[in-house]
Symmetry: none
């Protein structure tokens, strides 16, 4: 709903109808229309963060971890094209949110990814000449770019996943330390 119409186009009364409640009822659960969006985001990304924290450490090396991160980020959206659009597109529609873009939840996500990279550098699995945080942002952006066009288009979910894995491989290979002879 939110996604099909975009956040600014979606009317609170439509959201309410879609949820099967009256307009006013929305305000028993959310402080404002914007709060609905923030809650969606925090819920989604928060869950993703939790998932990553629990699983990443168990994986043997950076390659496996990056592949896992990609699968998680993309996989969590795979079956909910609309949510994907909400998060990829619509989130950027809220000014107040934008000012919190480096907000805890999102920063946390970036930190988790950056830590994987930094750890890879310590292990000698990742080249030293790049900033872990830059990689985190670029990886997020790259997947976001895929998700955005996928969410707006009509390609099957499988195609998104395959594209994401290709991107994962580019990053994995691209992050490896240059072979020293």
């Amino acid at each position: 709903m939110l996604a099909r119409k975009g956040f600014h186009s979606a009317r609170v009364s439509e959201i309410a109808r879609a949820a099967g409640v009256a307009d006013g009822t929305i305000y028993l659960y959310f402080k404002s229309k914007e709060d609905i969006l923030i809650s969606l985001f925090e819920g989604h990304v928060g869950q993703l963060n939790q998932e990553l924290r629990q699983s990443v450490a168990a994986l043997p090396d950076t390659s496996a971890r990056v592949a896992h991160i990609v699968r998680c980020q993309v996989g969590s959206l795979r079956r909910q094209r609309e949510l994907a659009e909400v998060l990829s597109v619509t989130l950027r529609q809220s000014n107040r949110f934008l000012r919190q873009f480096a907000a805890p939840t999102f920063s946390e996500y970036l930190d988790i990814v950056a830590e994987v990279i930094a750890d890879g550098q310590r292990r000698g699995e990742v080249r030293e000449d790049i900033s872990p945080l830059v990689v985190a942002r670029a990886l997020f952006g790259a997947l976001d770019g895929l998700i955005l066009t996928w969410a707006l288009g009509r390609s099957p979910a499988g195609r998104l996943e395959r594209a994401a894995l290709q991107v994962a491989e580019v990053f994995i290979q691209g992050l490896r330390p240059p072979a020293t002879s």
Copy 2:
């Protein structure tokens, strides 16, 4: 202006004042508020496309070309943080625009990048197991992610450029065909 406030938050009268004209004058040059945004986008990306077309062919190999693309995309925004925000963030606020996301100008950009990759594959400089269009989208997204956080933050332009070059290197190395012994 548009960028500081976001597109939906910016009032036409504010845009007019910032431009030093009366409200009505805006409508002598733009069909609607949304048209202002689209014009900005078409102008910027159109120029970028033209620039790329003219220069890419002259470059010797895919590595140089990818580095060039990155420099162009990022460099064209470097001195105009606000425009960066408009294009990276705000453009996604317009529904009509979103429906034209695969619009000529943007598609053209993707095609140019994809063609560089495809050509690289024909030359044996780029691994065959990835889709050129996927690379184009991912590269765009990765840079967009950097630009977004840069535009919203307060880092100096130099930092953006350095980050972008790191991303370029990751992609360049990541795209190389796996060494076959």
Copy 3:
């Protein structure tokens, strides 16, 4: 309100204030500003039509019927000078309305009057050389002319009624078949 200021001059917010509700509330009951006008018209003329239908048949001859029609049309407005102005003057301010001028409700009114005349012709009470519909339009127009100047002026209601009855007599006598010796 509507009448004092004219339809185009009346602001929706003024109409709302006069009605003792908030601006937005108007739109719970009317589709648009123009709809307010159309509703007024349909309500007024519709009621007039109903009244005429119920009473005309019971009257013995065409003279009585014409007199009755005049009394009804004028009488229904007598105590609402402002409504008179709305209907006589302001209705002509709406283009969309004009295109529906032959709209059901008004056509119905003309048909009722025309049928009285046509029936009079069949009974031999009305001269045959005039078109019933022309009479209907002329009678409407004549009364409308009186109502218009009355509504805009400050004459007491009684004067309007007396004038209307004079017009009724002119029509009644004017419609009689010429005496055949």
Copy 4:
């Protein structure tokens, strides 16, 4: 032009284009948009008044005079359906004008007609029990009603004229003093 679109819908720039001049040029000849309308009215009705003044006195009796008035009022519009609409419909769209509805030019017209009736009463050709001014207003209104529907419809001009003559006959017969045996 003015008529096809209505006065409120017609844009000054359209009027200018139709006249083959630039927007600003209009204001060399008219004080305001409303002034265009008033000028049209004054011009048309003023000419009608002049015409009536010159010809009415020469006619032998009230019947001939009423018939002449009708022919003049309707005839002057016959070939200009659009002007008819301007005068019949559009004039009522201007508030300032409405407040001048009893304005000199229109009052003059009513006075001319009323004087014909009053003179008829003095000659014994018109019944004494009706007010000359009421007749003037009713006659104007009756013709206005015909003209309005004619201007908005698509009937040929001849039909309007025939209808007007029927109305004239109704008035002429209706105004005659009741036969006293």
